[in-house]
Amino acid sequence: MAFQDFVRGNTSPTQQARLYRVGVLVFCPPCPRQRGTTPPYDWNTFEKLLIANRGEIACRVIKTCKKMGIRTVAIHSDVDANAVHVKMADEAVCVGPAPTSKSYLNMDAIMEVIKKTRAQAVHPGYGFLSENKEFARRLASEGVTFIGPDTHAIQAMGDKIESKLLAKNAKVNTIPGFDGVVKDADEAVRIAREIGYPVMIKASAGGGGKGMRIAWDDEETREGFRFSSQEAASSFGDDRLLIEKFIDNPRHIEIQVLADKHGNALWLNERECSIQRRNQKVVEEAPSTFLDPETRRAMGEQAVALAKAVKYSSAGTVEFLVDSSKNFYFLEMNTRLQVEHPVTECITGLDLVQEMIRVAKGYPLRHKQTDIPINGWAVECRVYAEDPYKSFGLPSIGKLSQYQEPLHVPSVRVDSGIQQGSDISIYYDPMISKLITYGSNRAEALKRMEEALDNYVIRGVAHNISLLREVIVHPRFVQGDISTKFLPEVYPDGFKGHKLTDLERRELLATAASLYVAEQLRSQRFLGTARIPVAKSKRSSWELSVRLGDGIYPVAVSKDGSSFSVEVDGMKLNVTSEWNLASPLLSVTVDGTQRTIQRLSRNASGDTNIQFLGTVYKLQILTKVAAELSKYMPEKAAEDTSSILRSPMPGAVVAVSVNPGDTVSEGQEICVIEAMKMQNSMIAAKTGKVKAVHCKAGDTVGEGDLLVELE
């Protein structure tokens, strides 16, 4: 029987009693609601609430529930049985196997759990069933409160076309162009031509940037139509598409609104979410550097007008595109809690989940518009398990072998739903956490973010810390000169990691060499008395050769008390640290500059991976003698990568469009891989004949798996 079953009480009472006796169960007993103590709120609330979600947002909601004295029920799929949200909740029920359509989207199973656990309310989080009107309707028919707007608002705003009409009627600025239902590719092309290129194509039912494609000509429109309709069908079960004018170089700024069931609505200021990759947000902040008070008020008032027009209640977000002349256009309204809500909470001091629960219980809003402040500045980075060096982020999977959040940095908030040992699987969103920092001004918040990113320990999966850190220190970002095109404009050839300046390179080399020497010195320190005495080394200087990228640098290190004096490129640097070689984080001071670095790995062959300024650098450190001799070592032949196609990420093969013997031209699509609800077209790197196909539609493939070989 599994350990987890013991913890959750699936054991016989005698076994449980034994376990308590031996002390195995004390660390995670079922958390009874504190009876007899008055909750710190002077109002009635729900007894028990079910969270129809997983991951960080489920944990986020449970936290507020705990604060409010509400018992919580978590649902989970079988692979999530050990997940953090399951452990945090008072009760947890499995609703099905790993695929979301069979678990977190399985309404029948969830309704069953609600009945069984007698939950009075359901918080849907974001994604999954959060904007599903059918779910809201079924809950209503069972007399269970849905923490969110009513079905009418969900339906009206969930449909891109209807929402535009409503917005127009509420005198909200809308994007110039055309909106309509698209039946086939030809019609898509006709509509696109009418609007004029470029156009944007996406699933009507889809939220955020998922499934959004931009077409600049007829051919791309057809391709976009094909992909979007497929994704619309597979992800939302709704084939409808939307085509509209694409605004070049826009900013994405959204207004958080909060409305009650009594006709009151507030706007809680804006969030700037322009830093995106593939139309998915990466860095968000509040407030925006771009808005002046008038624009902010105009946007807020329009957002509130729209909310009122649909009789909105609960928290919602009105997304706008803002062009360079501060004209803003309504994009869509998200009738749920947004991923990036923490930045708004930071600057306004409101707990949005708590307000949502209050409103759902029927209470009027506690605040007036004049009560809503902008206190300081908050920045959020979405930390993803993905490889930022592949088109700004392709999903990565694996086990978090080490995981440590930078909570020791002041004014840092980390919303996460994972812990050391958690698996990042192909079934769900690869987000690891949301890292939020706060400061009295933007510079302070960004400085703290830099520190927080450096102090974030994530091992076992690829992650995008390097990209995030580069973005927040980029001069354009620091000045606030951003748009949704920021990443492709700043990194036209793709993200390549931090580019070291000469000074930084010297710092890195000096640090790495000092670490090497510290390690060497330690490996000569044996404890206890030996039968044959260990020869004490009197050595105090080392000549090393460090390979970094394509360069090989001679480095001379000499021990100078507890610090090292390192000579690189004819410059002398002083390196001090505690040299705790077991700690995942190392604080090193090089010539007075303090840096937090992480040594990810080392081996006896001198290979060392060091995370420095967010980016991981591969170094090889050898003694001068070994380095000189290494030129005699045979070169191992590298694999020719142009004639083979490997999967860039773990996922499922959706389609294979070639057979062995086919001739393909460079750039031609060979197969399509889907991972984490994202489809990727794999193309041929050269023209040639297909030698072998190693996958078929429906296969699950791992990162680096061989898909197709060319001759």
Binding site: M1, F3, F526, A582, Y632
Partner: protein
């Protein structure tokens, strides 16, 4: 005056050695041209601490006078091997390094005598012997003298076995009788692409069995680390191998008279490992990686795995706990469900016996569904080979700590360092299932499939650690995240363990 003579002699010797290294430089190009090898002296330079090498027998020459071997141009001071002693991270080691540039590193009487001398010293002093093998084989010109030399070395290999650790690093060809010296040592490492070990080369194989096989296929690093299990690990190139050997050396005690070494350690011994609470999957049929557990428990996640590509259903290797070297044995559920078969039993047994011989505590992680059934295994002698692992664990008197992470079924439960085999600390995680067999099979035998709820009953009764814990067969059921803390505490206490077996000439392990 005598002293002056001596000094002159030595300086002459030094000049010769300078000349040798100059000669070596000339051979350099020839060696590296497509071969990618270092010279014998370069290897010693990289293996030992700087300036710590004391060479022996630099003036020894071969004694062969046939076939023109006694001409001056055929005499090389030191002959085809460099021997001596030195320090690795300050600790004493005896080294011999065969020199392929002298008669192809072939073994002459003098060559063997030099090796024997360092081995005798090593055994006497109590320090490990490291052999860097790169030899074409016997010195044919010397005939039986060369064969005698091999036997002298073999004898010393056997006499040193269990007295001082012996390590062979194969850095070139090693064929014929010569292979038995590495085979007798405790660890055999190889260099990929440049080293070969075989009894007879591809030509002889072709003429005898008509098989077409390359050197690499017959006796390359890949063959011996993955198929035959002759070599314990392979490294990328000479430098890589020597640097790894230095690191490996730090795990070993100098002799059977020394305790396992304790290094300075920065990893706290009371570190909790929270991920272990969730590492075992809920479904008992699902696999997980035992290496995840080992890495997370060991100091600084460092684990020097022995035979990583052979019999992967058992994991063995060295790690440190609070600085002290430990030998870790673990069933690997990821490969063949972690069952014990012939190869894994032999691999485990040899490792356990090494640790026992050299006072290295054993930590065993158990998740074993039993011995592998089938004709292949039975015909191959799984009974005899499985008994080796049983024998090894039972006779070991070093501190033995066992953690049952999940399955401990049937005879395999007994074998894997159980309490009954003198285990010192035997723990079970709450996920442990200590039973004669899986619930399904057991129910079929007990009830012949007639009882509907029997399986659930059996699971409740036996698929948990309680029956074993109530009988004292496991000492405690522990929270997985505290495993490291428990092991470190136990090791501190058990450091003074003494245990002896009845007097015997030697035991008779079922070979």
């Amino acid at each position: 005056k005598e002293q002056k003579d001596f000094v002159r002699k030595v300086s002459a010797g030094c000049r010769i050695s300078f000349f040798l290294s100059f000669a070596a430089v000339k051979y350099r190009d020839w060696l590296s041209c497509g071969r990618g090898k270092l010279t014998a002296r370069e290897r010693i330079l990289l293996l030992l601490d700087p300036d710590s090498f004391d060479e022996y027998d630099m003036f020894v020459e071969h004694r062969c006078s046939d076939f023109g071997m006694d001409s001056n141009k055929n005499k090389y001071p030191g002959d085809s091997v460099v021997t001596g002693r030195g320090r690795i991270n300050g600790r004493l080691a005896y080294v011999f390094s065969q020199d392929f540039t002298v008669f192809g590193g072939s073994l002459s009487g003098a060559h063997a005598q030099k090796i024997c001398k360092v081995m005798d010293q090593a055994a006497m002093v109590g320090a490990p012997v490291i052999g860097l093998n790169d030899s074409g084989g016997a010195r044919i010109q010397e005939g039986v003298e060369s064969l005698a030399g091999y036997a002298d070395i073999f004898l010393r290999n056997v006499l040193c076995s269990g007295v001082v650790p012996q390590i062979s690093l194969i850095m070139g060809p090693c064929a014929g009788g010569a292979v038995y010296s590495p085979a007798l040592t405790d660890f055999t490492f190889m260099v990929k692409d440049t080293s070969y070990l075989f009894i007879t080369g591809p030509d002889v194989v072709k003429s005898v069995t008509n098989e077409d096989v390359t050197q690499e296929q017959l006796g390359g690093a890949k063959t011996h680390t993955a198929v035959s299990g002759v070599a314990h690990r392979a490294f990328e190139n000479d430098i890589d191998a020597l640097l790894n050997l230095r690191e490996f050396f730090n795990y070993l005690p100098l002799s059977n008279r020394d305790p396992a070494p304790v290094c300075e350690c920065h990893d706290p011994s009371d570190r909790l490992v929270p991920e272990l609470d969730t590492v075992v999957p809920v479904e008992s049929t699902k696999a997980y990686d035992m290496l995840d557990i080992i890495h997370s428990i060991a100091d600084e996640r460092e684990f020097f795995e022995i035979m990583p590509s052979y019999a992967r259903n058992i994991v063995v290797g060295f790690a440190r706990m609070n600085g002290r070297t430990v030998g870790i044995v673990g069933n690997q559920p990821k490969v063949a469900s972690g069952c014990l078969d012939i190869n894994s039993s032999v691999k485990g047994a040899r490792f356990v016996r090494f640790c026992d011989a050299f006072n290295i505590p054993l930590i065993t992680f158990v998740d074993v569904p039993g011995f592998l059934p089938g004709t292949a295994q039975e015909y191959g002698g799984i009974i005899r080979h499985g008994a080796k692992l049983l024998f090894a664990f039972a006779e070991a008197t070093v501190p033995k700590i066992t953690i049952i992470t999940r399955k401990a079924y049937g005879g395999a439960y007994d074998v894997m360092s159980s309490k009954h085999l003198r285990g010192d600390a035997n723990y079970a995680w709450p996920t442990a299932e200590v039973a004669v067999m899986g619930a399904k099979g057991a129910v079929q035998i007990i009830f012949r499939g007639k009882e509907a709820n029997a399986e659930a009953e059996y699971v409740d009764k036996f698929a948990n650690p309680f029956p074993a814990a109530m009988r004292g067969f496991v000492d405690d059921i522990i929270q997985p995240s505290t495993t490291r803390v428990r092991i470190c505490h136990d090791l501190d206490v058990l450091a003074s363990k003494t245990q002896s077996s009845p007097w015997k000439k030697h035991a008779n392990i079922p070979l």
